[in-house]
């Protein structure tokens, strides 16, 4: 049983029915991505085109692996949130919009989990 009044339940939520939750969540992933992308991109740029053993050893290192894992998870959360807003803003018509929003959710979660699997395999498969 909900003891709150109807007014209490909707106050501050607005027409989107979720208030500033989505907006705020997107800022959190944005801020997290500032250090994560910086920690990732410079080593990554160096590793591109290097030989297999060296690159593999680099990402078997716990620090690099954790950075990669955090980055992948945060990137796909951020991408999910961002693409959602773009779809909501530019795609007209409920069927197309709903289909794209669903596809976005499935795509981002699938890619994120595949990414986590890929890094975990590098670390644990030795």
């Amino acid at each position: 049983m909900d003891f709150r009044t109807d007014r209490q339940r909707v106050e501050g939520l607005g027409s989107a029915h979720e208030g500033v939750g989505h907006w705020w969540s997107q800022r959190i992933t944005s801020i997290a991505l500032v250090p994560l992308t910086l920690l990732f991109i410079f080593p990554f740029a160096r590793h591109l085109g290097q030989d297999y053993a060296a690159v593999r050893a680099a990402y078997a290192n716990p620090f690099n692996a954790i950075v990669a894992l955090l980055l992948i998870v945060t990137v796909f959360l951020h991408l999910w949130q961002g693409l959602q807003v773009v779809i909501e803003d530019y795609v007209q018509g409920k069927p197309a919009r709903t289909a794209l929003l669903l596809a976005n959710t499935l795509f981002c979660w699938a890619m994120g989990l595949v990414g986590v699997f890929a890094v975990a395999r590098i670390v644990f498969a030795g």
């Binding site: 027409s15 800022r27 944005s30 801020i31 991505l33 500032v34 992308t37 991109i41 410079f42 990554f44 740029a45 160096r46 591109l48 085109g49 297999y52 690159v55 593999r56 990402y59 990669a68 992948i72 990137v75 796909f76 991408l79 961002g82 693409l83 773009v86 803003d89 530019y90 007209q92 409920k94 890619m111 595949v114 990414g115 699997f117 890929a118 890094v119 395999r121 590098i122 498969a125």
Partner: protein, 130 residues
């Protein structure tokens, strides 16, 4: 209530171009979204690269070979430029979200700074990569 009359109104960027002259503010705003959507491809490529790195030397050679080919290189250069733009302009957005830098001269100045930083950081990472 909202769905009683399916709106036949124009969708968002219809103002820019025929109605409203493109300006550094509007163009940079839409570029933030364009680069964000485009970076989807970069995210897929990074996951693909990690998958191949875990799979073994043969798979890694194929993916790494593609990324260091001229076509893959073109995608990488585009991705790097898109990333640095989205990164720098994202920080600009975070400052706005915190309530700073809203007056027009500052908006123009920070916009130019973002473009300059994007160019410098893109070249810097490219030098590191090649």
């Amino acid at each position: 209530m909202a769905d009683v009359n399916p709106p036949n109104r124009p969708l968002s960027p219809f103002m820019i171009g025929p109605v409203y002259r493109p300006q550094i503010t509007s163009v940079m705003s839409i570029l933030h979204r364009v680069t964000g959507v485009g970076l989807t491809l970069a995210a897929i490529l990074v996951v693909w690269w990690f998958l191949a790195l875990g799979a073994g030397p043969a798979d890694f050679a194929r993916v790494d070979g593609f990324l260091t080919s001229w076509f893959g290189g073109l995608i990488l250069i585009g991705s790097l430029a898109a990333f640095w733009y989205h990164f720098c302009n994202g920080i600009r957005h975070l400052f706005w979200d915190a309530g700073y830098g809203f007056d027009l001269p500052t908006v123009h100045k920070s916009g130019k700074a973002v473009i300059a930083a994007t160019a410098i950081l893109t070249v810097l990472t490219l030098i590191l990569a090649f």
